[in-house]
Protein backbone atom coordinates (compact mmCIF):
# COMPACT_ATOMS: atom_id res chain seq x y z
CA UNK A 1 0.00 0.00 0.00
CA UNK A 2 1.29 3.51 -0.75
CA UNK A 3 2.13 5.42 2.39
CA UNK A 4 3.25 8.90 3.31
CA UNK A 5 7.03 9.12 3.59
CA UNK A 6 8.13 9.86 7.14
CA UNK A 7 10.40 12.90 7.40
CA UNK A 8 13.21 12.09 9.84
CA UNK A 9 14.14 14.71 12.41
CA UNK A 10 17.15 14.96 14.70
CA UNK A 11 15.72 12.53 17.24
CA UNK A 12 14.11 10.05 14.87
CA UNK A 13 16.86 9.86 12.23
CA UNK A 14 18.61 6.76 13.68
CA UNK A 15 15.32 4.86 13.58
CA UNK A 16 14.56 5.73 9.97
CA UNK A 17 18.17 5.23 8.88
CA UNK A 18 18.05 1.73 10.37
CA UNK A 19 14.81 1.02 8.48
CA UNK A 20 16.60 1.92 5.26
CA UNK A 21 19.13 -0.79 6.18
CA UNK A 22 16.31 -3.29 6.88
CA UNK A 23 16.96 -3.15 10.60
CA UNK A 24 14.49 -2.39 13.38
CA UNK A 25 15.89 -0.41 16.28
CA UNK A 26 14.18 1.06 19.33
CA UNK A 27 15.40 3.90 21.49
CA UNK A 28 16.76 2.74 24.84
CA UNK A 29 17.36 4.65 28.05
CA UNK A 30 20.77 3.69 29.35
CA UNK A 31 19.98 5.07 32.80
CA UNK A 32 16.79 3.16 33.60
CA UNK A 33 17.24 0.36 31.05
CA UNK A 34 13.90 0.97 29.37
CA UNK A 35 12.83 0.97 25.75
CA UNK A 36 10.99 4.01 24.46
CA UNK A 37 8.96 4.43 21.29
CA UNK A 38 8.44 6.86 19.69
CA UNK A 39 11.86 8.31 20.48
CA UNK A 40 12.27 11.51 22.48
CA UNK A 41 15.26 13.66 23.33
CA UNK A 42 15.10 12.41 26.94
CA UNK A 43 13.66 9.43 28.78
CA UNK A 44 9.98 10.02 29.54
CA UNK A 45 10.33 8.02 32.76
CA UNK A 46 13.60 9.17 34.34
CA UNK A 47 14.32 12.28 32.22
CA UNK A 48 17.82 11.01 31.45
CA UNK A 49 19.42 12.24 28.27
CA UNK A 50 21.57 9.10 28.00
CA UNK A 51 19.52 7.65 25.19
CA UNK A 52 20.83 4.98 22.84
CA UNK A 53 19.41 2.54 20.29
CA UNK A 54 18.95 -1.23 20.42
CA UNK A 55 18.32 -3.50 17.50
CA UNK A 56 15.36 -5.73 18.24
CA UNK A 57 14.39 -9.15 16.94
CA UNK A 58 11.81 -7.97 14.45
CA UNK A 59 9.24 -10.36 15.89
CA UNK A 60 5.96 -9.27 17.41
CA UNK A 61 2.35 -10.12 18.13
CA UNK A 62 -0.95 -8.58 17.01
CA UNK A 63 -2.27 -6.74 20.05
CA UNK A 64 -5.46 -5.45 18.42
CA UNK A 65 -6.80 -3.82 15.30
CA UNK A 66 -9.49 -1.87 13.52
CA UNK A 67 -10.50 -1.70 9.86
CA UNK A 68 -10.36 1.66 8.15
CA UNK A 69 -13.12 2.39 5.63
CA UNK A 70 -12.99 6.20 5.42
CA UNK A 71 -9.52 7.52 6.14
CA UNK A 72 -8.64 11.18 6.17
CA UNK A 73 -5.20 10.30 4.79
CA UNK A 74 -5.45 10.81 1.04
CA UNK A 75 -2.72 8.37 0.03
CA UNK A 76 -4.48 5.50 1.80
CA UNK A 77 -7.97 6.05 0.46
CA UNK A 78 -7.57 3.97 -2.70
CA UNK A 79 -6.89 0.86 -0.64
CA UNK A 80 -9.90 1.04 1.65
CA UNK A 81 -10.95 -0.92 3.56
CA UNK A 82 -7.64 -1.86 5.14
CA UNK A 83 -6.43 -3.18 8.46
CA UNK A 84 -4.66 -1.03 10.99
CA UNK A 85 -3.13 -3.41 13.48
CA UNK A 86 -1.35 -2.59 16.71
CA UNK A 87 1.78 -4.70 17.00
CA UNK A 88 3.49 -5.35 20.32
CA UNK A 89 7.17 -6.15 20.10
CA UNK A 90 8.44 -9.52 21.28
CA UNK A 91 11.41 -7.76 22.92
CA UNK A 92 9.11 -5.53 24.97
CA UNK A 93 5.31 -5.89 24.61
CA UNK A 94 4.86 -2.37 25.97
CA UNK A 95 6.34 -1.03 22.75
CA UNK A 96 3.72 -0.76 20.05
CA UNK A 97 3.96 -0.15 16.29
CA UNK A 98 1.39 -0.07 13.52
CA UNK A 99 0.85 -2.29 10.52
CA UNK A 100 -1.47 -2.72 7.57
CA UNK A 101 -0.72 -6.45 7.81
CA UNK A 102 0.29 -7.10 4.21
CA UNK A 103 -0.95 -10.56 3.21
CA UNK A 104 -3.94 -10.46 5.58
CA UNK A 105 -7.31 -9.48 4.11
CA UNK A 106 -9.24 -6.64 5.69
CA UNK A 107 -11.00 -7.75 8.85
CA UNK A 108 -9.50 -11.24 8.67
CA UNK A 109 -7.12 -10.47 11.50
CA UNK A 110 -6.50 -12.93 14.31
CA UNK A 111 -5.45 -11.14 17.47
CA UNK A 112 -2.44 -12.80 19.07
CA UNK A 113 -0.94 -13.90 15.74
CA UNK A 114 2.85 -13.80 15.56
CA UNK A 115 4.21 -11.34 13.02
CA UNK A 116 7.61 -10.56 11.56
CA UNK A 117 8.84 -7.17 10.44
CA UNK A 118 9.63 -6.30 6.85
CA UNK A 119 10.46 -2.98 5.30
CA UNK A 120 8.46 -1.18 2.65
CA UNK A 121 9.52 1.69 0.41
CA UNK A 122 7.46 4.85 0.43
CA UNK A 123 7.01 6.76 -2.79
CA UNK A 124 7.72 10.41 -2.03
CA UNK A 125 11.26 10.04 -0.70
CA UNK A 126 12.04 6.33 -0.83
CA UNK A 127 12.21 6.22 2.97
CA UNK A 128 11.56 2.69 4.16
CA UNK A 129 9.01 2.02 6.90
CA UNK A 130 8.44 -1.09 9.02
CA UNK A 131 5.55 -3.33 8.12
CA UNK A 132 4.52 -6.62 9.68
CA UNK A 133 3.42 -9.90 8.14
CA UNK A 134 1.80 -12.83 9.90
CA UNK A 135 4.27 -15.72 10.17
Amino acid sequence: MPKQSPVPDEVSKPFWDACNQNKLVVQHCETCDRMQFPPESTCVKCESSSMGWKEVSGMGKIHGYCVMHDSRIRLLQADQPFNIAVIELQDDPDIKMFSHLPGTDADEVVIGSIVRVEFQDTEATGQKVPEWRVV
Partner: protein
Protein backbone atom coordinates in the same frame (compact mmCIF):
# COMPACT_ATOMS: atom_id res chain seq x y z
CA UNK B 1 -0.73 37.95 16.87
CA UNK B 2 -3.14 37.60 19.72
CA UNK B 3 -1.47 38.80 22.90
CA UNK B 4 -3.55 36.70 25.25
CA UNK B 5 -1.70 33.64 26.47
CA UNK B 6 -2.78 30.08 27.09
CA UNK B 7 -3.41 29.32 30.74
CA UNK B 8 -0.33 28.12 32.62
CA UNK B 9 -0.14 24.44 33.54
CA UNK B 10 -0.45 25.41 37.20
CA UNK B 11 -4.10 26.40 36.75
CA UNK B 12 -5.21 22.83 36.00
CA UNK B 13 -5.93 20.37 38.79
CA UNK B 14 -4.38 17.33 37.12
CA UNK B 15 -3.12 15.49 40.17
CA UNK B 16 -5.02 13.17 42.47
CA UNK B 17 -5.26 13.73 46.23
CA UNK B 18 -5.40 17.53 46.05
CA UNK B 19 -8.35 17.58 48.43
CA UNK B 20 -11.51 19.64 48.06
CA UNK B 21 -11.12 22.55 45.61
CA UNK B 22 -10.20 25.66 47.55
CA UNK B 23 -12.88 27.76 45.82
CA UNK B 24 -15.66 25.18 46.09
CA UNK B 25 -19.02 27.00 45.96
CA UNK B 26 -17.40 30.44 45.76
CA UNK B 27 -17.74 30.74 41.98
CA UNK B 28 -20.90 30.35 39.92
CA UNK B 29 -22.21 30.23 36.37
CA UNK B 30 -24.91 32.85 35.89
CA UNK B 31 -25.40 33.17 32.14
CA UNK B 32 -25.69 30.91 29.10
CA UNK B 33 -25.76 32.07 25.49
CA UNK B 34 -25.91 30.11 22.24
CA UNK B 35 -25.89 31.54 18.75
CA UNK B 36 -27.95 29.89 16.01
CA UNK B 37 -26.36 26.81 14.43
CA UNK B 38 -25.44 26.13 10.82
CA UNK B 39 -24.02 23.12 9.01
CA UNK B 40 -21.38 25.13 7.16
CA UNK B 41 -20.27 28.68 6.71
CA UNK B 42 -21.97 30.22 3.68
CA UNK B 43 -19.41 33.07 3.77
CA UNK B 44 -21.93 35.68 4.84
CA UNK B 45 -20.99 38.10 7.60
CA UNK B 46 -24.09 37.14 9.59
CA UNK B 47 -23.02 33.53 9.83
CA UNK B 48 -19.30 34.09 10.45
CA UNK B 49 -17.81 32.69 13.64
CA UNK B 50 -17.11 36.24 14.79
CA UNK B 51 -20.69 37.41 14.31
CA UNK B 52 -22.05 34.30 16.02
CA UNK B 53 -19.58 34.75 18.88
CA UNK B 54 -20.85 38.26 19.52
CA UNK B 55 -24.42 36.98 19.41
CA UNK B 56 -23.65 34.23 21.92
CA UNK B 57 -21.93 36.65 24.28
CA UNK B 58 -24.81 39.10 24.14
CA UNK B 59 -27.25 36.30 24.90
CA UNK B 60 -25.20 35.11 27.88
CA UNK B 61 -25.06 38.65 29.27
CA UNK B 62 -28.77 39.14 28.74
CA UNK B 63 -29.44 35.78 30.36
CA UNK B 64 -27.56 36.90 33.46
CA UNK B 65 -28.88 40.46 33.42
CA UNK B 66 -25.34 41.82 33.24
CA UNK B 67 -24.18 44.79 31.16
CA UNK B 68 -21.04 44.35 29.03
CA UNK B 69 -19.39 47.16 31.00
CA UNK B 70 -19.58 44.98 34.11
CA UNK B 71 -17.45 42.24 32.55
CA UNK B 72 -13.80 42.34 33.62
CA UNK B 73 -12.58 38.98 32.32
CA UNK B 74 -12.67 36.99 29.06
CA UNK B 75 -11.48 33.41 28.73
CA UNK B 76 -11.71 32.06 25.23
CA UNK B 77 -11.00 28.78 23.56
CA UNK B 78 -9.65 30.66 20.59
CA UNK B 79 -9.76 28.22 17.69
CA UNK B 80 -12.63 26.22 16.31
CA UNK B 81 -12.54 22.54 15.41
CA UNK B 82 -12.72 22.72 11.63
CA UNK B 83 -10.31 23.70 8.88
CA UNK B 84 -8.85 27.19 9.16
CA UNK B 85 -9.92 29.88 6.72
CA UNK B 86 -6.38 30.82 5.63
CA UNK B 87 -4.99 31.15 2.97
CA UNK B 88 -8.32 32.28 1.49
CA UNK B 89 -8.77 36.08 1.29
CA UNK B 90 -10.59 37.72 4.17
CA UNK B 91 -14.15 38.53 3.06
CA UNK B 92 -14.48 42.26 2.48
CA UNK B 93 -17.54 42.84 4.64
CA UNK B 94 -15.90 40.97 7.52
CA UNK B 95 -12.72 43.05 7.19
CA UNK B 96 -14.79 46.24 7.02
CA UNK B 97 -16.93 45.38 10.04
CA UNK B 98 -14.53 44.02 12.62
CA UNK B 99 -11.30 45.21 14.12
CA UNK B 100 -8.66 42.59 13.40
CA UNK B 101 -6.33 41.12 15.96
CA UNK B 102 -2.77 42.32 15.45
CA UNK B 103 -0.96 39.87 13.19
CA UNK B 104 -3.88 37.45 12.84
CA UNK B 105 -6.36 38.60 10.17
CA UNK B 106 -8.16 35.24 10.35
CA UNK B 107 -9.10 35.76 13.98
CA UNK B 108 -12.88 35.79 14.11
CA UNK B 109 -13.15 33.47 11.11
CA UNK B 110 -11.71 30.22 12.50
CA UNK B 111 -12.61 30.96 16.09
CA UNK B 112 -12.38 34.03 18.28
CA UNK B 113 -9.50 34.87 20.57
CA UNK B 114 -10.06 36.83 23.78
CA UNK B 115 -8.40 39.81 22.08
CA UNK B 116 -10.80 39.66 19.13
CA UNK B 117 -13.72 39.49 21.55
CA UNK B 118 -12.52 42.49 23.54
CA UNK B 119 -11.92 44.39 20.29
CA UNK B 120 -15.30 43.67 18.78
CA UNK B 121 -18.02 43.06 21.36
CA UNK B 122 -19.74 46.39 22.00
CA UNK B 123 -19.41 47.63 25.56
CA UNK B 124 -16.61 45.33 26.73
CA UNK B 125 -14.70 48.38 27.93
CA UNK B 126 -13.52 47.24 31.34
CA UNK B 127 -11.84 43.92 30.68
CA UNK B 128 -8.60 43.65 32.63
CA UNK B 129 -8.07 39.89 32.47
CA UNK B 130 -7.88 37.65 29.42
CA UNK B 131 -6.66 34.10 29.07
CA UNK B 132 -7.03 31.19 26.67
CA UNK B 133 -8.17 27.70 27.48
CA UNK B 134 -7.28 25.96 24.24
CA UNK B 135 -9.05 23.22 22.32
CA UNK B 136 -12.18 22.79 24.36
CA UNK B 137 -14.80 24.86 26.17
CA UNK B 138 -14.34 22.58 29.18
CA UNK B 139 -10.73 23.72 29.27
CA UNK B 140 -11.82 27.38 29.13
CA UNK B 141 -14.43 26.83 31.85
CA UNK B 142 -11.80 25.28 34.11
CA UNK B 143 -9.50 28.23 33.51
CA UNK B 144 -12.23 30.78 34.18
CA UNK B 145 -13.42 29.02 37.33
CA UNK B 146 -9.93 29.07 38.79
CA UNK B 147 -9.29 32.63 37.66
CA UNK B 148 -12.46 33.97 39.26
CA UNK B 149 -11.79 31.93 42.39
CA UNK B 150 -8.28 33.36 42.55
CA UNK B 151 -9.61 36.91 42.16
CA UNK B 152 -8.10 37.55 38.72
CA UNK B 153 -11.54 38.53 37.48
CA UNK B 154 -14.92 39.05 39.09
CA UNK B 155 -17.27 38.67 36.13
CA UNK B 156 -15.83 36.57 33.36
CA UNK B 157 -17.07 35.49 29.95
CA UNK B 158 -16.13 32.00 28.75
CA UNK B 159 -16.43 31.67 24.99
CA UNK B 160 -15.87 29.45 22.00
CA UNK B 161 -16.91 29.55 18.39
CA UNK B 162 -16.29 26.90 15.79
CA UNK B 163 -16.47 27.04 12.03
CA UNK B 164 -17.10 24.49 9.33
CA UNK B 165 -16.19 25.48 5.80
CA UNK B 166 -16.76 23.43 2.65
CA UNK B 167 -14.93 20.23 1.77
CA UNK B 168 -14.34 16.89 3.47
CA UNK B 169 -13.62 17.44 7.15
CA UNK B 170 -10.03 16.85 8.16
CA UNK B 171 -8.85 15.96 4.66
CA UNK B 172 -6.45 18.81 4.21
CA UNK B 173 -2.96 19.82 5.27
CA UNK B 174 -0.98 16.89 6.68
CA UNK B 175 -3.72 14.42 5.72
CA UNK B 176 -3.42 15.37 2.06
CA UNK B 177 0.39 15.38 1.98
CA UNK B 178 2.82 12.85 0.54
CA UNK B 179 5.13 13.09 3.55
CA UNK B 180 4.62 12.95 7.29
CA UNK B 181 6.64 15.01 9.73
CA UNK B 182 6.63 15.74 13.43
CA UNK B 183 4.44 13.46 15.53
CA UNK B 184 2.57 12.26 12.44
CA UNK B 185 5.71 10.54 11.08
CA UNK B 186 4.84 7.71 13.50
CA UNK B 187 1.13 7.53 12.68
CA UNK B 188 0.03 8.95 9.33
CA UNK B 189 1.84 6.41 7.11
CA UNK B 190 -0.50 3.81 8.58
CA UNK B 191 -3.53 6.10 8.87
CA UNK B 192 -3.54 6.09 12.66
CA UNK B 193 -5.40 9.11 14.00
CA UNK B 194 -7.98 9.63 16.72
CA UNK B 195 -10.68 7.63 14.92
CA UNK B 196 -8.61 4.40 14.69
CA UNK B 197 -7.49 4.94 18.29
CA UNK B 198 -11.09 5.04 19.50
CA UNK B 199 -12.21 2.18 17.24
CA UNK B 200 -9.30 -0.02 18.32
CA UNK B 201 -9.96 0.74 21.98
CA UNK B 202 -13.65 -0.06 21.62
CA UNK B 203 -12.82 -3.38 19.97
CA UNK B 204 -10.52 -4.20 22.87
CA UNK B 205 -13.29 -3.25 25.31
CA UNK B 206 -15.83 -5.49 23.59
CA UNK B 207 -13.42 -8.42 23.60
CA UNK B 208 -12.59 -7.93 27.28
CA UNK B 209 -16.17 -7.63 28.47
CA UNK B 210 -18.06 -9.73 25.91
CA UNK B 211 -19.94 -6.87 24.31
CA UNK B 212 -20.39 -5.76 20.71
CA UNK B 213 -21.08 -2.69 18.61
CA UNK B 214 -24.82 -3.35 18.30
CA UNK B 215 -25.12 -2.80 22.06
CA UNK B 216 -24.32 0.87 21.53
CA UNK B 217 -27.66 1.38 19.79
CA UNK B 218 -29.79 2.24 22.86
CA UNK B 219 -27.31 4.95 23.83
CA UNK B 220 -27.10 6.44 20.33
CA UNK B 221 -30.88 6.49 19.92
CA UNK B 222 -31.29 8.09 23.32
CA UNK B 223 -28.67 10.73 22.56
CA UNK B 224 -30.67 11.68 19.49
CA UNK B 225 -33.90 11.63 21.43
CA UNK B 226 -32.38 14.05 23.93
CA UNK B 227 -31.18 16.19 21.05
CA UNK B 228 -34.75 16.41 19.79
CA UNK B 229 -35.54 18.24 23.03
CA UNK B 230 -32.60 20.69 22.91
CA UNK B 231 -33.77 23.91 21.19
CA UNK B 232 -30.23 25.31 21.01
CA UNK B 233 -28.94 22.25 19.14
CA UNK B 234 -28.12 21.88 15.45
CA UNK B 235 -30.45 18.99 14.67
CA UNK B 236 -33.36 20.55 16.55
CA UNK B 237 -32.93 23.74 14.55
CA UNK B 238 -31.98 22.34 11.16
CA UNK B 239 -32.48 18.62 10.69
CA UNK B 240 -34.90 17.18 13.23
CA UNK B 241 -35.58 14.26 10.89
CA UNK B 242 -31.98 13.08 11.31
CA UNK B 243 -32.68 12.40 14.98
CA UNK B 244 -35.33 9.81 14.19
CA UNK B 245 -32.97 6.91 13.51
CA UNK B 246 -33.89 3.35 14.42
CA UNK B 247 -31.79 0.52 15.81
CA UNK B 248 -31.73 -0.94 12.30
CA UNK B 249 -30.46 2.36 10.89
CA UNK B 250 -27.70 2.38 13.48
CA UNK B 251 -26.48 -1.19 13.16
CA UNK B 252 -26.55 -1.09 9.35
CA UNK B 253 -24.83 2.28 8.90
CA UNK B 254 -21.62 2.36 6.91
CA UNK B 255 -18.37 1.83 8.73
CA UNK B 256 -16.00 4.72 9.16
CA UNK B 257 -13.40 2.62 10.90
CA UNK B 258 -14.86 -0.70 12.01
CA UNK B 259 -16.10 -0.97 14.75
CA UNK B 260 -16.93 2.75 14.49
CA UNK B 261 -19.76 3.63 12.14
CA UNK B 262 -21.26 6.83 10.82
CA UNK B 263 -23.61 7.34 13.74
CA UNK B 264 -20.80 7.07 16.26
CA UNK B 265 -19.36 10.28 14.84
CA UNK B 266 -20.58 13.79 15.47
CA UNK B 267 -21.50 16.29 12.78
CA UNK B 268 -19.22 19.34 12.34
CA UNK B 269 -21.21 22.56 12.51
CA UNK B 270 -20.82 26.34 12.59
CA UNK B 271 -21.87 28.06 15.81
CA UNK B 272 -20.70 29.87 18.95
CA UNK B 273 -21.57 29.84 22.63
CA UNK B 274 -20.73 31.68 25.82
CA UNK B 275 -21.10 31.39 29.57
CA UNK B 276 -20.81 34.02 32.27
CA UNK B 277 -19.03 33.16 35.51
CA UNK B 278 -18.85 35.31 38.60
CA UNK B 279 -18.28 35.16 42.32
CA UNK B 280 -20.91 33.50 44.49
CA UNK B 281 -21.58 36.82 46.21
CA UNK B 282 -22.38 38.60 42.96
CA UNK B 283 -24.27 35.63 41.58
CA UNK B 284 -27.00 36.03 44.19
CA UNK B 285 -28.15 39.29 42.60
CA UNK B 286 -28.31 38.12 39.03
CA UNK B 287 -31.27 37.15 36.93
CA UNK B 288 -30.85 33.38 36.90
CA UNK B 289 -30.48 30.90 39.69
CA UNK B 290 -26.71 30.51 40.21
CA UNK B 291 -25.06 27.25 39.29
CA UNK B 292 -22.25 26.95 41.81
CA UNK B 293 -18.97 25.43 40.76
CA UNK B 294 -18.00 22.73 43.23
CA UNK B 295 -14.83 21.56 41.52
CA UNK B 296 -12.80 21.49 38.38
CA UNK B 297 -10.16 18.97 37.42
CA UNK B 298 -8.22 17.83 34.40
CA UNK B 299 -6.63 14.72 32.95
CA UNK B 300 -3.32 14.85 31.13
CA UNK B 301 -2.51 11.21 30.58
CA UNK B 302 0.80 9.98 29.20
CA UNK B 303 0.76 6.76 27.22
CA UNK B 304 3.58 4.23 27.33
CA UNK B 305 4.01 3.93 23.55
CA UNK B 306 2.26 4.91 20.33
CA UNK B 307 -1.27 3.89 21.27
CA UNK B 308 -3.51 4.37 24.26
CA UNK B 309 -4.23 0.83 25.44
CA UNK B 310 -7.55 -0.12 27.02
CA UNK B 311 -5.74 -0.51 30.33
CA UNK B 312 -4.45 3.06 30.04
CA UNK B 313 -7.88 4.36 29.05
CA UNK B 314 -9.44 2.73 32.09
CA UNK B 315 -6.70 4.05 34.36
CA UNK B 316 -7.19 7.57 32.96
CA UNK B 317 -10.94 7.49 33.56
CA UNK B 318 -10.44 6.05 37.03
CA UNK B 319 -8.20 9.01 37.74
CA UNK B 320 -10.76 11.48 36.37
CA UNK B 321 -13.42 10.01 38.64
CA UNK B 322 -11.16 10.13 41.66
CA UNK B 323 -10.36 13.79 41.03
CA UNK B 324 -14.00 14.67 40.31
CA UNK B 325 -15.16 13.22 43.63
CA UNK B 326 -12.18 14.28 45.74
CA UNK B 327 -12.27 17.89 44.61
CA UNK B 328 -16.03 18.28 44.93
CA UNK B 329 -16.45 16.35 48.15
CA UNK B 330 -19.23 14.37 46.50
CA UNK B 331 -19.63 10.62 46.26
CA UNK B 332 -20.87 8.75 43.21
CA UNK B 333 -24.33 8.45 44.75
CA UNK B 334 -24.45 12.21 45.28
CA UNK B 335 -23.80 13.01 41.61
CA UNK B 336 -27.20 13.61 40.03
CA UNK B 337 -26.57 14.77 36.46
CA UNK B 338 -23.89 12.88 34.53
CA UNK B 339 -22.91 14.42 31.20
CA UNK B 340 -19.51 13.09 30.10
CA UNK B 341 -18.37 13.61 26.53
CA UNK B 342 -19.67 11.55 23.61
CA UNK B 343 -17.80 12.66 20.52
CA UNK B 344 -16.90 9.90 19.65
CA UNK B 345 -19.65 7.83 21.22
CA UNK B 346 -17.41 4.78 21.47
CA UNK B 347 -15.45 6.18 24.41
CA UNK B 348 -18.42 7.28 26.52
CA UNK B 349 -18.65 4.00 28.45
CA UNK B 350 -15.22 4.53 29.95
CA UNK B 351 -16.38 7.71 31.69
CA UNK B 352 -19.62 6.20 32.96
CA UNK B 353 -17.84 3.17 34.36
CA UNK B 354 -14.98 5.15 35.85
CA UNK B 355 -17.41 7.47 37.59
CA UNK B 356 -19.50 4.49 38.77
CA UNK B 357 -22.56 6.66 38.24
CA UNK B 358 -25.69 4.79 39.33
CA UNK B 359 -23.44 1.91 40.33
CA UNK B 360 -22.21 1.07 36.83
CA UNK B 361 -18.96 -0.88 37.01
CA UNK B 362 -16.34 -1.76 34.39
CA UNK B 363 -17.89 -3.72 31.56
CA UNK B 364 -21.48 -2.89 32.53
CA UNK B 365 -22.19 0.31 30.57
CA UNK B 366 -23.68 -1.31 27.50
CA UNK B 367 -26.14 -3.35 29.56
CA UNK B 368 -26.96 -0.22 31.56
CA UNK B 369 -27.82 1.61 28.35
CA UNK B 370 -30.26 -1.16 27.46
CA UNK B 371 -32.26 -0.14 30.53
CA UNK B 372 -34.15 3.12 31.00
CA UNK B 373 -31.79 6.04 30.36
CA UNK B 374 -34.50 8.40 29.11
CA UNK B 375 -34.63 11.80 30.79
CA UNK B 376 -38.01 10.85 32.28
CA UNK B 377 -36.59 7.63 33.68
CA UNK B 378 -34.56 6.65 36.72
CA UNK B 379 -31.13 6.75 35.00
CA UNK B 380 -31.06 9.83 32.71
CA UNK B 381 -27.47 9.42 31.57
CA UNK B 382 -26.13 12.12 29.24
CA UNK B 383 -29.33 14.15 29.40
CA UNK B 384 -27.87 16.68 26.97
CA UNK B 385 -27.81 14.31 24.02
CA UNK B 386 -24.23 15.45 23.58
CA UNK B 387 -22.52 16.12 20.30
CA UNK B 388 -24.24 13.09 18.85
CA UNK B 389 -27.67 14.60 19.37
CA UNK B 390 -26.78 18.24 18.76
CA UNK B 391 -23.68 18.65 16.57
CA UNK B 392 -19.99 19.07 17.25
CA UNK B 393 -19.26 21.71 19.89
CA UNK B 394 -18.23 19.84 23.07
CA UNK B 395 -20.52 22.17 24.98
CA UNK B 396 -24.02 20.71 25.06
CA UNK B 397 -23.15 18.64 28.12
CA UNK B 398 -22.07 21.80 29.96
CA UNK B 399 -25.18 23.77 29.00
CA UNK B 400 -27.50 20.90 29.83
CA UNK B 401 -25.96 20.32 33.24
CA UNK B 402 -26.37 23.99 34.11
CA UNK B 403 -29.94 24.07 32.81
CA UNK B 404 -30.87 20.86 34.65
CA UNK B 405 -29.67 22.36 37.93
CA UNK B 406 -31.55 25.58 37.21
CA UNK B 407 -34.71 23.64 36.40
CA UNK B 408 -34.90 25.12 32.93
CA UNK B 409 -33.98 22.17 30.73
CA UNK B 410 -37.48 22.15 29.25
CA UNK B 411 -38.55 18.82 27.84
CA UNK B 412 -35.16 17.39 28.83
CA UNK B 413 -35.68 18.20 32.50
CA UNK B 414 -34.94 15.05 34.43
CA UNK B 415 -37.39 13.74 36.98
CA UNK B 416 -34.76 12.51 39.40
CA UNK B 417 -33.04 14.87 41.85
CA UNK B 418 -30.97 17.50 39.99
CA UNK B 419 -28.88 19.24 42.65
CA UNK B 420 -25.39 18.33 41.44
CA UNK B 421 -23.94 17.62 38.02
CA UNK B 422 -20.83 16.82 36.02
CA UNK B 423 -19.79 17.75 32.50
CA UNK B 424 -16.47 17.57 30.70
CA UNK B 425 -14.55 16.72 27.56
CA UNK B 426 -12.49 15.72 25.56
CA UNK B 427 -10.81 12.28 25.58
CA UNK B 428 -10.06 9.93 28.48
CA UNK B 429 -6.40 10.93 28.14
CA UNK B 430 -6.81 14.68 27.76
CA UNK B 431 -9.89 16.27 29.25
CA UNK B 432 -11.22 18.92 31.61
CA UNK B 433 -14.14 18.54 33.99
CA UNK B 434 -16.57 20.77 35.85
CA UNK B 435 -18.72 19.80 38.84
CA UNK B 436 -21.74 21.95 39.59
CA UNK B 437 -24.26 22.26 42.41
CA UNK B 438 -27.38 24.26 43.26
CA UNK B 439 -25.93 25.08 46.66
CA UNK B 440 -22.56 26.63 47.47
CA UNK B 441 -22.30 24.41 50.55
Amino acid sequence: MSVTQNAPASIYRTKEDLGVWEHRGKVAVVGIGHSPTFRRWDERLETSVGYLTIQAIQKALEDAGVKPEEVDGVVSSPKGMGEGWAPRPIPEDFANTYKPTDGDPNDGLDGASADWIVNNVPGLDNVSFTMHGPACISNALVVAAQAVGDGLAKTCLVVRGTGNIGGRYGQYGAAAADQASGASQWTNPWGWQLIPQIAFGFDQYCRKYGSNHDKMAPFILNQRRNGSMFPEGFYYQNRPEDLQITTEDYVSARWICKPMNLYDCDLPIQTAWAYLITTADRAKDMKQKPVYILNHCSQRGVVRSLVETLEETEAFTDSIAKKVYQGSGLTASELDICNPYDGFTLFTQYYLEGLKWHGVKRGEAHDFWAGDIRVEGPHPFSSSGGNNGNGRTRTWNQTDTMQQLQGRAGLRQVTIRAETGLAGAFTPGVSDWMVYGISPD
